[in-house]
């Protein structure tokens, strides 16, 4: 049998799914975390059941890709039972989707999730009465704690086996008459959905009403037109809105019948939001929270990274000695080890703590608040508030930053956010800025480079968004209540995302590393320098730094490490002028994201988009570095040093 989980965003479908399937779906206190459907096989009372987690949707008449996925899946796959997950603490809202699902006339079980939260809000819910009204079985659940899961599946299996079809609610007379008329018109024609379901969709004017081609059927088209205009005359609104309003009225009527509301205290949410969304304090806390977030990750990361890399360096040194008589093999093995070390140095120290921290902020419900606060600012660069998340992530590592663009609805926004996020200097580029500029020229210049980076990102955002066709429609985002995340959930989520990196990006890192070893072995660095010569010449850098820029694509901090070798000095000030240091650093900050990021870009957006973004970053890097060079030149001439 096949069960489909359907519910509104943030109602806990994926939490339930993960409870029974191990960790396979992404969850978060942020609506729309699931974009594609996920399948898993579950064993219930000796029977194997295919469980499908569909993306959250407020209505089956949805507009964004995640929402359309649900109706597409239902019309193209055999589903034996719909498990409709409803957030019990927002029952009236949740039931509107339930009513729509009942129109499908398929076996359905309604699950009231987050019963604990509803209880905290002082609500008592009469489940049996709801079951009576809807004509379905109703099961209570606390998915986050796994309470009620077994009972749910036993019930679901029973309903699925017996194929109990629920009754749908009746709507106003005008609508019912129109439906009747349409049903009699289309009855008898082959269609995956039943005639009534099609009638609903035709009335609502959906494009995806099965394989039905009303355009090729003038009789049907005229009946539809007649029905719609009659409804418009009667209700003064289009049929789609009338149906939506009817469903909602019925839903709120049902909810008022079965819910007893106790005393609602001034909620924690209001008190927290008074501070966290405050026009002044909100931003103070935002900066503070992000500062602590990065401080902790950076401290943790650098504490782990150094000893880890030391171990690898030692290992590589030993390999080189042990295989000294086979220089080719030695070079290859050290290449592989370098690639593994690269992954270890990115994943364990920075990515994992980063993902843990992010998962925590996400599950608490803070990220939508950040989106709220930053929306006005993000509009200046052609995006909206939700796109702030990739930027925050970018300062740690561009890989999760690009992954997080998935939460944006529009492809245009995803593309723009990903392109801009790769310009954010990650922790590895921080190492270059600190090791070169801060160390030799002072921390204030390092800060200046960071501010300059923000300016360039904003400028790029404006330019790109003015070239992209449509404007971003703006922010529509539900503010979830604050929830205390469970440790298990946060860890599983971090692990799930880290695994993505390991599978997608790490192998490429290792292959790239081997290629560089080959180049090294055949002493092709002269060739590499020649390859980058146009750039180094343009920026007035010594041609020897060319090879370090190529290595930097593998791992950004390698630029700095290789620089020592390429210039053959231990003190950079002997080989580079101050202006050259600034130019080099600015170029490294902007040019081509590392291989791991490129791999993720390719997966999220496609090969062509990845290449475009990579090319764009080179252009931006050349402009930015040239600009920095000119400014630095003017400043140093003026101050006479």
């Amino acid at each position: 049998m096949r069960f489909a989980l359907i519910g509104q965003p943030n109602c806990g479908k994926s939490t339930l799914f993960n409870q029974v399937s191990g960790y396979k779906a992404e969850t978060g206190n942020f609506s729309g975390t699931t974009v594609n459907y996920t399948e898993s096989k579950v064993r219930v009372l000796g029977e194997v059941i295919e469980l499908i987690d569909l993306p959250g949707t407020y209505t089956l008449a949805g507009s964004n890709p995640a929402e359309r996925e649900t109706i597409m899946y239902l019309s193209s796959h055999q589903v034996d039972l719909i498990i409709n997950v409803v957030d019990a603490s927002h029952l009236s809202q949740g039931l509107t989707l339930t009513l729509e699902l009942l129109e499908l006339q398929r076996p359905t079980v309604v699950v009231l999730n987050m019963m604990d939260e509803a209880a905290r809000m002082g609500m008592t819910i009469d489940g049996p009465k709801l079951a009576d009204i809807l004509g379905t079985r109703v099961v209570p659940l606390v998915a986050s704690k796994g309470r009620g899961v077994r009972n749910l599946f036993v019930t679901a299996q029973d309903v699925g086996r017996r194929g109990i079809v629920p009754k749908r609610q009746l709507y106003g007379r005008g609508i019912e008459e129109a439906l009747q008329k349409l049903v009699s018109q289309i009855n008898g024609r082959g269609d995956h959905f039943q005639a009534e379901r099609t009638a609903f969709k035709l009335l609502e004017g959906e494009a995806n009403s099965g394989q039905f081609e009303e355009k090729n059927d003038p009789v049907l088209a005229s009946v539809i037109e007649e029905c719609r205009s009659r409804i418009y005359d009667e209700y003064g609104q289009e049929a789609a809105w009338v149906l939506g309003a009817e469903r909602r009225n019925i839903a709120s009527d049902i909810s008022s019948q079965i819910v007893q509301t106790g005393e609602r205290r001034v909620s924690l949410r209001d008190r927290l939001d008074n501070v966290l969304l405050h026009p002044v304090w909100g931003y103070v806390f935002l900066i503070l929270i992000l500062l602590i977030f990065f401080q902790v990750i950076f401290k943790l990361g650098s504490a782990v990274e150094q000893p880890l890399l030391a171990i690898f360096d030692q290992l590589i040194a030993q390999v080189l000695i042990a295989l000294a008589s086979y220089p080719f093999i030695a070079e290859m093995v050290s290449g592989i080890l370098q690639g593994i070390a690269g992954g270890v140095a990115i994943v364990l120290p920075y990515l994992l703590p980063f993902l843990l921290g992010l998962g925590f902020l996400e599950d608490v419900g803070y990220l939508p608040r950040v989106a709220f606060l930053m929306d006005a600012l993000m509009h200046r660069i052609g995006l909206h508030g939700k796109a702030i998340v990739p930027f925050i992530l970018g300062y740690g590592c561009n890989v999760p930053a690009v992954m997080s663009t998935r939460m944006l609805e529009d492809r245009r926004d995803r593309y723009l956010a990903a392109a801009l996020a790769t310009l954010v200097p990650c922790a590895a580029r921080l190492a270059v800025v600190f090791g070169l500029v801060a160390f030799y020229l002072g921390p204030s210049l390092a800060l200046a480079i960071y501010l300059f980076n923000l300016f360039v990102i904003a400028l790029t955002g404006r330019i790109i968004s003015s070239m992209l066709p449509e404007d971003t429609p703006g922010l529509i985002l539900e503010m979830p209540v604050y929830r205390l995340p469970t440790v298990k959930n946060v860890f599983q989520k971090a692990w799930f995302r880290a695994r993505e990196f390991t599978v997608e990006a790490w192998p490429i890192l290792i292959v790239g590393s081997i290629i560089l070893s080959l180049l090294n072995y055949f002493n092709l660095s002269v060739f590499l320098n020649a390859l980058v010569l146009p750039v180094t010449w343009l920026l007035g850098l010594p041609s020897e730094v060319g090879v370090t820029l190529i290595f930097g694509i593998l791992r950004k901090e390698l630029s700095l490490i290789m620089l020592r070798q390429a210039l053959n000095v231990s003190d950079f000030s002997q080989a580079l002028t101050e202006i050259q240091m600034i130019t080099f650093t600015v170029f490294v900050v902007f040019y081509v994201p590392c291989l791991a990021t490129l791999a993720i870009l390719k997966r999220e957006l496609g090969r062509r988009e990845m290449l475009t973004i990579a090319g764009l970053t080179v252009v931006i890097a050349i402009f930015a570095a040239s600009f920095a060079r000119i400014i630095a030149f003017i400043l140093y001439t003026l101050t006479g040093s």
Binding site: T57, Y58, T59, A61, G62, S63, N64, E67, H90, S92, Q93, T96, Q237, A240, W241, G244, A245, R248, S252, D273, L277, P279, P368, A371, F372, L373, D375, A376, L377, H379, H384, G385, P473, G474, L475, I476, L477, E478, M479
Partner: protein
């Protein structure tokens, strides 16, 4: 009057969504419809989003979206 002109704490009724189908479909898909009575809970500074409460749910609407929602004054239902 549109939603972007409403002060914090006020109750208003959504009367009409203006402009492109995309926005009204998006609002409908969130269960927001003409006829809804909502309370404006917070305004973000610098022309940022407007936070409204509908049926116990809080929803942030960007300034551009708020400008497309026609409202009239209302009282707590």
């Amino acid at each position: 009057m549109d939603l972007s002109e409403v002060g914090s704490g006020k109750w208003v009724k959504f009367t009409r969504f203006i402009g492109g189908g995309g926005v009204s479909i998006k609002l409908r898909s969130l269960g927001i419809m003409p006829g809804d009575v909502v309370q404006v809970k917070r305004l973000a500074p610098f022309g940022g989003p407007i936070l409204v409460e509908i049926d116990g749910r809080e929803i942030a609407l960007g300034h551009g979206i708020a400008k497309r929602i026609e409202v009239e004054e209302s009282t707590r239902p």
